[in-house]
């Protein structure tokens, strides 16, 4: 394997893992051929390491408190996007009244984009934090889910 390809594959792992194993792992990769097969193997292993870290990622007890998990960008973003989506529905209802429209307007498309974004980040958050701080992550997910439900209820009853 070429050095550039090996470096690229090492780069898939989180920094603490790279600091501990990066050099020796890169040396091993240089001795391998069949790039595609190795890519699948390494990508799977790197994803596993990111989900369930073996080094340098032991989250300190303080870091697993609900407040800290709640402040993570991947927790704040779906909350912010869901709130923005809810605001769009409420603003639409406030301006145009409670009307059941057949055609989707700009507000509806904006709402779909915001909810889609929130769901995507929410899935990322769940994948990253559920294995590390299950209770705290679950609490965040319940809050985001409640906001999502509020969104769907608002869309159902107000538009």
């Amino acid at each position: 394997m070429k050095p550039a390809a090996a470096r690229l594959l090492v780069g898939l792992y989180p920094r603490p893992w790279r600091q501990r194993y990066g050099e020796e792992f890169e040396t091993l990769l240089l001795e391998q051929s069949d790039f595609l097969k190795i890519l699948v193997d390494v990508a799977f292993s790197a994803a596993k390491e990111r989900m369930s870290p073996t080094c340098g990622q032991a989250v300190p007890a303080a870091a697993t408190s609900f407040r800290v998990v709640m402040k993570m960008p991947s927790a704040i973003l779906p909350l912010a996007l869901s709130l923005a989506a809810l605001s769009v529905v409420l603003a639409h209802a406030a301006i145009f009244g409670v009307t059941h429209e057949k055609d989707e307007g700009t507000a509806a498309h904006l709402w779909q984009l915001l909810i889609g974004g929130a769901l995507t980040v929410m899935i990322f958050f769940a994948a990253k934090w559920m294995p590390r701080a299950t209770k705290q992550a679950l609490a965040v997910l319940i809050i985001v889910s409640a906001l999502m439900l509020a969104n769907f209820a608002a869309v159902y009853f107000l538009t």
Binding site: E24, F25, L28, I38, D41, S45, A46, K48, E49, C55
Partner: protein, 100 residues
């Protein structure tokens, strides 16, 4: 992956290191010799990092850019226990097959 292909990377790494300290490439070749299964480098290092985290293997001073590993006492104990269980399963399984 067929059922006949043995795949338990941590056990394979421990078994390989029971034969003496080895670096990654040597482990891959030894495991091919042991069971015909060629571990990918990601799978191998996934097992190595978890075994090291559990204190079952430990690194030796690097040779060039290669990093050899060896079994720890806890690793030897864990491997012995696992192999004894496997031996019991193998014996019982073969006995049951004979009775068929």
């Amino acid at each position: 992956m067929g059922i006949e292909q043995f795949s338990d990377p941590p056990l394979l790494v421990l078994t390989s290191l029971a034969g003496g300290p080895k670096h990654g490439h040597a482990m891959i070749e030894d495991i091919v010799w042991l069971c015909g299964n060629r571990l990918g480098p990601g799978t191998l290092y996934g097992a190595i990092s978890r075994l090291e985290q559990q204190g079952l293997i430990e690194p030796l001073p690097p040779e060039d850019r290669r990093q050899p590993y060896r079994l720890t006492a806890a690793g030897e104990h864990a491997l012995r226990a696992k192999l004894n269980t496997l031996k019991h399963v193998t014996r019982s399984g073969l006995k049951r097959l004979e009775a068929l």
